[in-house]
């Protein structure tokens, strides 16, 4: 198993000889547009949190190439079992900004009905499975879904994500093992961004890399430069194709960096060396890809403006719309626990209803229809 880091673009954005996948211009421009939009969305999310308009935010800044590149080669009918740091995939899958942003507000525009913290998206239309907080749980689920698809003879491929921290989870072990034993069509992408909150990845495991963990499960493992969207794309495309051909799972490690703090609740300065951070800032995946586009004569100021300002404007407008949506009603709290409300839940709903009607509990909200 090679521990070599697969790279296509050098630091100046030049493709190494013979490695350029030579994607059509429109694809390349789409990739750029997605990365830029993802960054803009992230900036907006953090700003809203800092302004106190949403309760929490978690950035993916610096990891745009890693996750957009990974999912780029999938078909729309393929499924994603994401972690919480791949928002660019939502844009890739054409989820409207307004839907994404409504999730942050947790109001009636949120597909998850305000049940989860910001950034825990669920978009069935995009085959983007509901995100949860517990680290790693999606990995064994993806393996199971892939087992099911294989058993049914569907040609769906599954991609699932985790962080470097996630490699230590139970589900990493179980998920990769099951996927390999049943030769299921799933691609495991470990975004190694150097940190699991304050724990550096070198303290997460003593193994030489995350990719080498594939050996333990008898599947191929590949290490790729996570800030090089073309390299990530190529490696994942191969893994996706392999999976679709029935040749089983692959573990891909994208080597990248968490540029921001862990989340809006964290302050990385307390535990992280500024130098390390600054060195990585210079490797910005968007800048690197922009340089490539320039070499290819696909970039100019007008295109930049269209990408950046276009995204910002759309996001601004979507925020306005999303924020204005009404909150979820209190009665919604009792829905979706089960398909049908149990007698017990009906009684509890009535209890809350009556309490609110009396003007005591939740007086600011008023009552709700039973």
């Amino acid at each position: 198993m090679s521990l070599e880091l697969m790279t296509i673009l050098d630091k100046d954005g030049k493709a190494q000889k013979g490695k350029d996948p030579n994607l059509p211009p429109e694809e390349l421009k789409k990739m750029y547009r997605l990365m830029v939009a993802t960054r803009a969305l992230d900036d907006r999310g953090l700003a809203l949190q800092r302004q106190g308009r949403i309760g929490f935010y978690l950035q993916s800044t610096g990891q745009e190439a890693s996750h957009i590149g990974a999912a780029y080669a999938m078909q729309q009918s393929d499924w994603l079992f994401p972690a919480y740091r791949q928002p660019g995939i939502l844009l890739l899958r054409d989820v409207p900004y307004e839907k994404i942003i409504a999730e942050w507000f947790g109001n009636s525009g949120d597909t998850s009905k305000g049940r989860q913290m910001p950034v825990h998206y669920s978009f069935r239309q995009a085959n983007f499975v509901s995100i949860s907080s517990p680290i790693g749980t999606q990995l064994s689920q993806a393996a199971g879904a892939a087992m099911a698809a294989k058993a049914r003879g569907d040609d769906t491929v599954f991609m699932t994500f985790c962080g470097d921290g996630g490699t230590s989870s139970n589900d990493f072990h179980a998920g990769l093992n099951f996927a390999a034993v049943y030769k299921s069509p799933v691609v495991f992408v470990c975004e190694n961004n150097g940190w699991a909150i304050s724990v550096a990845s070198k303290n997460q495991t003593a193994s030489e890399s995350m990719a080498i963990k594939a050996e333990a499960y008898g599947m191929p493992g590949v290490r790729v430069d996570g800030n090089d969207i073309l390299a990530v794309y190529r490696v994942c495309k191969e893994a996706i194709d392999r999976a679709r051909r029935g040749e089983g799972p692959t573990l891909v490690e994208t080597v990248t960096y968490r540029i921001a703090s862990h989340s809006s609740s964290d302050d990385a300065d307390r535990y992280r060396d500024k130098k390390e951070f600054e060195a990585w800032q210079k490797k910005d995946p968007i800048q690197r890809f922009k340089a490539y586009l320039k070499h290819k004569k696909l970039w100019n100021e007008a295109f930049e403006k269209e990408c950046v300002e276009g995204a910002k404007d759309e996001i601004m407008a979507a925020t306005k719309k999303a924020e204005a949506l009404p909150p979820m009603g209190p009665e919604s709290m009792f829905d979706d626990v089960y398909m049908n409300q149990t007698p017990g839940l009906k009684a509890q709903k009535k209890e809350l209803h009556d309490l609110m009607l009396k003007g005591g509990v939740g007086a600011d909200i008023g009552h709700f229809p039973l």
Binding site: S130, P134, T137, G144, A148, D171, A174, F178, Y338, G344
Partner: protein, 339 residues
């Protein structure tokens, strides 16, 4: 994806005497014939047919794609099961003993139970988790525990426990058809002892309905699983020795609970004994007491007595003293008459 519902080959009618083991096996076979989204998997469920034999013959009849062994990982079994359910299958995950479910507990309480809710109804997890539970086979510490209370306290899960072969079949089929995750706990003590007529072919017992296992007027006994026959014997003793007429309510489903049947019986008799084999403190029986003390206390003519396992880990050599037996339950019944 569409469910490929086949008509069950033979439209069987009539009944047959089966053990609970056989009834459970029959339920799975029936649903696997009926719905090809149903798959059964777990440790040793394939060729071996399960350590108790509940899956015997399924591997042979339906092949490896629908009845298969897994690696030794409850985390994997349950995580994969959740994934299969998300994708549209009807997975039945067998956990070899309930005592071994904990390595996969997270997938149940954090994932399966919350999937529908957290995704606003977009994603669902119609999955059955089957597992033998409870004492009575001299299995000691790790082959005997009754931890239904953990699951009952986890919104999003249904919890089903049969006490007769016919119910085992009917409730299991209902669980497989249910759109939500169901913990289907099998009282292994009576896997072979419970033997009775079971309807052939299609047989569904609706979840959420308790069963009056014996009618009576003086005391209500609330119980489930392997405690039902114990309570039957206790009721006989109570009648013989003290002339007490006991009404036995077999809960069948703990979640959703048939509060109505429970409260009606309690209001009628005015006395309650709650029986369960789990450690007394924090057991599901305490919930039953609490419901009654909140909603029907004015009907009570005595203390709500609980007869349960002791608050110790499950012992090996002293199992027979640990588990409630007819005499201990009978003593509990008498306590409800001491005000």
């Amino acid at each position: 994806m569409t469910a490929i519902k086949k008509k069950s080959g033979a439209s069987e009618t009539g009944t047959k005497v089966m053990t609970m083991l056989e009834a459970i096996n029959d339920a799975m076979r029936t649903e696997m014939q009926n719905d090809d989204r149903v798959v059964v998997f777990g440790e040793d469920v394939g060729k071996k047919g399960g350590v108790f034999g509940t899956t015997a013959g399924l591997f042979e009849e339906f092949g490896e794609a629908r009845c298969f062994d897994t690696p030794l990982s409850e985390c994997g079994i349950l995580g994969a099961g959740v994934g299969m359910a998300l994708y549209g299958m009807r997975p039945i995950a067998e956990i070899q003993f309930l005592d071994f479910i904990y390595p996969g507990f997270d997938q149940i309480v954090s994932e399966a139970a919350k999937m529908r809710y957290r995704s606003g109804g977009e994603y669902t997890c119609p999955m059955v988790i089957r597992s033998p539970y409870g004492g009575g086979i001299r299995g000691g510490h790790y082959h005997s525990q009754s931890s239904e209370a953990y699951f009952c306290h986890t919104p999003g899960l249904k919890v089903v426990i049969p006490s007769t072969p016919a119910d085992a079949k009917g409730l299991l089929i209902a669980s497989i058809r249910d759109e939500d995750p169901v913990m289907f706990l099998e009282p292994k003590a009576i896997y072979r002892h419970a033997k009775d007529e079971v309807p052939l072919g299609e047989h569904v017992v609706e979840l959420g309905k308790a069963r009056i296992a014996r009618e009576g007027t003086d005391v209500t006994i609330l119980c489930y699983g392997a405690m039902v026959p114990v309570c039957q014997k206790a009721a006989d003793l109570a009648m013989e020795e003290h002339g007490r007429s006991c009404e036995i309510v077999d809960l069948r489903t703990l979640v959703p609970l048939d509060e109505q049947t429970i409260l009606e019986s309690v209001k009628k008799t005015g006395r309650v004994v709650v029986v369960y084999e789990a450690p007394k403190t924090g057991g599901f029986g305490g919930e039953l007491s609490a419901i009654i003390a909140e909603k029907a206390i004015e009907y009570l003519e005595g203390p709500i007595v609980r007869v349960a396992g002791f608050d110790t880990p499950f012992p090996y050599a002293l199992e027979h003293l640990y588990m409630p037996d007819p005499k201990r339950v009978a003593a509990g019944i008498e306590k409800t008459f001491v005000w």
